[in-house]
Amino acid sequence: MRDRGWILGAFAVVLVLVTWPAWRAVASAPPRRPDLPRPAGATACVAPVEFMRASHMTLLVQWRDRVVRDGVRTYVDSDGRVVTMSLSGTCIGACHTDKTKFCDRCHDYAGVTPTCWNCHVVPPAVTVAGGVR
């Protein structure tokens, strides 16, 4: 048991090294929330902000299934407004016109890379009348 000091010491060093990122995060200032400018002219989203923040992906998946599988293209939101269910046409085309300042900023902050835009490329001029999905 002559090496007890060495063993415990090394154990402590390893513990500190492994948990280092956590200590550093605690010590530094909390990360700044992404700055998401409100879309000009829009008064409300299709659902309350709290719901959209947490569950917009669920809503988009439901929209996708309704449009692609059932051929239903319009959605009545909680305020009774009728909107076309379309990610690149309605969400980005008509409201959050700059994807990089809304979708991308928050996804970067959260560290997620959704695959939606692999196919749903956002053309420069998006028109809903052209039958966008």
Partner: protein
């Protein structure tokens, strides 16, 4: 007293008859009539403009179809095929003699008995109520069973990332990624907003007629009633719904 077997059978039987009658009456009263969309191509008008690519260009532009030079990786929704290969019908030899050596426009036949739908393990491809056979790229796993099943070669697999090959400007229709199968969707996204399929609209000869095959007053039914039409490989039993008026 417990009801006996006879009583049970009698009650269950009358309930079944009553519910079936209610469903039948409901359908008859609501007047539901499903459309069956299809296409007819006047081959003589089409070959009159040999070398014309209007329908192909319009379709491929509308759907962001990539123009990949390597034929092994080619993606196509609508294209031209030599008459003999597309529409070889043995017993129509004398009728089609004038069309030999010409090329005809071919695309997905939107079959009534689509083999691609039967083999798809994820139901990513399916036939809608109006007969349009379509692909849900979200659900496609790229197994290519449908490519093997389709006897018309109507389906293309994205072997490479197609997006660098999509000519600009992009149209609003979603592009695809590597690893999914795609094909003609009879412009269902245009039909949904009351437009004709892009190829029909673009044809300068008005050789393509689109319509409801169940409606006897539709243009397509009138054309098929007047002229002789053949389909691609009817002997396979796929019941194609694209008619070639010759």
């Amino acid at each position: 007293m417990r009801p006996g077997r006879r009583v049970f059978l009698r009650v269950a039987g009358s309930a079944a008859v009553a519910s079936a009658a209610a469903v039948a009456l409901g359908c008859a009263a609501s007047g539901i009539r499903r459309r069956r969309l299809g296409m007819a191509i006047d081959v003589r008008k089409c070959v009159a403009a040999d070398g014309c690519r209007s329908c192909i260009d319009a379709c491929h532009r509308a759907h962001n179809v990539p123009a990949i030079p390597d034929v092994r990786h080619e993606v196509k929704w609508i294209w031209k095929e030599p008459f003999e290969r597309a529409l070889a019908v043995e017993d129509a030899d004398t009728i089609t003699a004038a069309l030999r050596g010409r090329s005809v426009t071919v695309f997905c036949n939107h079959c009534d008995n689509p083999p691609c739908v039967r083999v798809c393990p994820t139901q990513a491809t399916w036939a809608r109520d109006d007969g349009v056979v379509t692909v849900d790229a979200h659900r496609c796993i790229g197994c290519r069973y449908c490519v093997a099943a389709c006897p018309y070669g109507s389906r293309s697999f994205n072997w490479v990332d197609p997006q660098p090959f999509v000519p600009s400007p992009l149209s609003p229709y979603p592009a695809r990624t590597r690893g999914v199968v795609e094909k003609c969707n009879l412009c269902e996204e245009r039909l949904a907003v009351g437009q004709l399929p892009a190829c029909v609209e673009a044809c300068p000869e008005h050789a393509m007629v689109f319509g409801d095959l169940r409606d006897p007053a539709s243009d397509i039914r009138r054309l098929l009633a007047e002229r002789y039409a053949i389909r691609r490989r009817p002997e396979l039993g796929t019941r194609p719904q694209v008619y070639y008026v010759i």
